[in-house]
Symmetry: C2
Subunit: 369 residues, 2 copies
């Protein structure tokens, strides 16, 4: 795929400079590295990762890149001694590396750091493109789907656990901590797990603090500590009778399930999103599509994999949904005077439909103590 | 500080586009946000954070930025409808925002994404500078030092725990997992904790797998799950007689302690690093300074705080060490046929010396079963 893109843009190399915190970098190199490294893919078969001396042998062993060089190997220290500034020295060393390989025009991803791209651009042709690996990562391979399935399974166990202890905890933060410790022991890292109640739950990303009131949003999105794949799941739990909240919850459940029912290879992201908006607007709720500032305030969903938010976005866009894509379907309703509700599943797209990786009952009401 | 830099560069705004995964973004805005947002600081007192609609109210409540706007507020959706591409629409919207505020020249940090900087540069003056917050963050305030102290304390408890169970585990990965679960329950997140043994421990960042042999490097660098501050600590444990390893360990302990003894307000980073190299070279070991490919292969240390690796770097550079800086001192020796050893403390610089935040015995030998 990269060679085609290079030819299309008349360029010789696609380059990245990042740590493995960038999922595209990790996906393409197969290498976990805490500090930024330089990766260069050429139309001539070049597949070269440049790391510090101390990472060289580990990169040779653990990464899937063909050729590994250290900064030492490509002459960084001589240039550093001369130029003094390590960042300019790095830019100059990498520039010379690209030129030596015959590079006249390079492609860089959107997130490429400006200190390098500006330096390069003064000396050669540089074009910014969407990172091709973001697109490649959209369609999951079988082993990736299995990894997301494992994480999904752990989430559902955590949800069972949540319901078991929900009446025994005294605050949202206590419940969040118990959920996160439960998952960590099983090998999954959940951070900023949303356990929010009361009117402040009207902010979709508010993680929740204090007393558990009439209802509780539980949004769990851990990744495997072993293989790094995420999954994402939300349920809203009713703990007391509250007609307004219950009605909102019925609405988002209907919107979610209708949306899931139309997902298949070939549907447009916008069809899914518009269906969710149709259902919610039909019941009199506001949506961002209608420029409401309360109601359904976010997109219908997002791809999930090595990142918790990745492509495709399920929104007003014309993305064609394809077999093998994994994403969330998560309608929510948010009103400042009432609070928020949301239900969310992670699905994998099949030819004629989709499979819900997080099957769990939708309407959860817990009564009594 | 930002106004001075702006005046110096004849610019009106310093801008960032990042999520709170960028420590500078989190430090300057005080806002935890998973997706990128736009932050703009002006010489005219502008202090403006642009987030999506769904994050607006949370940003107003949780961030320390003066003014919050949503993409909606600044006209993104109209431009998106017209231009179709969300990235170009974002660039155009932000460009118009800067122009409306009177911006003719802006400063961006090194890590600023190229898709925005290239778009801006075609329309106004853009200069890349080192992120000023990286420098500001070097000198820790009292409450930051307290946070690093809390994390350090948890690390030492984890080290006690490690020594207690070291003979009872069957592999490096089992020990790593037990250490990480121990810390997680206490409120600290450790990832990629290094528990490495045998010859592969000659790779400084190899996290360790399989059997525990004659010696074990234990490198623990968690952050508080509550306040996000890291600390960093390493000890090498001898489990069997091994004269070569023991000798290497004595050498790095001597190098570490001599280095710590000269740290005070005003010393140069290079003086600390060169002293470590002098000690190790004096005992016949190689160093990167001498272009050896085995021996002491990395820098003497790195700043620590909201990032596990941050400024200052303790290396061959002329950084003047100042009161309030917190960094590691971590000489190591790495030989492929023998393995690696390392000891590491985190210190905070005082006027006339430094305080070790991770006081623990250096030479650890465990004999018997």
């Amino acid at each position: 795929m990269i060679p085609e893109i290079l030819r299309e843009h008349n360029a010789q190399f696609f380059v990245m400079y990042d740590s493995s915190r960038n999922a595209n970098f990790y996906y393409s190199t197969g290498f976990q590295i805490p500090d930024p490294a330089f990766y260069m893919i050429g139309d001539d078969g070049t597949d070269l990762l440049v790391v510090s001396e101390m990472e060289k042998r580990r990169a040779e062993r653990e990464s899937k890149v063909k050729e590994i060089a250290s900064l030492n190997d490509i002459g960084f220290y001589e240039i550093y001694k001369e130029l003094k500034d390590p960042h300019i020295a790095l830019a100059q060393t990498l520039y010379e590396l690209i030129r030596t390989h015959g590079g006249k025009k390079i492609l860089v991803p959107r997130e490429f750091p400006s200190f390098l791209s500006f330096y390069f651009k003064e000396r050669m042709d540089v074009e910014v493109i969407p990172n091709p690996f973001s697109r490649l990562r959209m369609i999951k391979r079988g082993n990736e789907i299995e990894k997301i399935r494992q994480t999904s399974k752990a989430i559902l166990e955590a949800m069972d656990f949540t319901l078991k202890i929900i009446r025994k905890v005294s605050s949202c933060e206590e419940l969040r901590n118990k959920i996160e410790v439960f998952l960590f022991k099983k090998g999954f890292l959940a951070e900023n797990t949303i356990v929010s109640s009361g009117t402040l739950s009207a902010d979709p990303h508010y993680i929740g603090m204090g007393e558990i009131e009439d209802h509780l949003i539980v949004d769990i999105f851990p990744r495997s500590r072993e293989n790094l794949y995420f999954s994402d799941f939300t349920r809203t739990v009713l703990l007391n009778d509250n007609a307004e909240i219950a009605e909102m919850l019925e609405a988002v459940i209907e919107a979610k399930n209708k949306a899931i029912s139309i997902i298949h290879d070939g549907v447009l992201a916008s069809e899914i999103h518009n269906l969710v908006c149709d259902v919610l607007e039909g019941k009199g709720y506001g949506t961002l599509r209608k420029k409401s500032v309360e109601g359904f305030l976010h997109s219908t969903g997002h791809g999930i994999g090595l990142e918790v938010h990745e492509e495709p976005r399920i929104y007003m866009n014309d993305e064609v949904i394809r077999k093998g894509m994994v994403f969330t379907v998560e309608p929510g309703l948010y009103y400042r005077k009432i609070g928020g509700v949301r239900v969310e599943d992670t699905v994998v797209v099949k030819k004629d439909g989709c499979e819900v990786l997080t099957p769990y009952r939708d309407f959860i009401k817990i009564t009594g103590v």
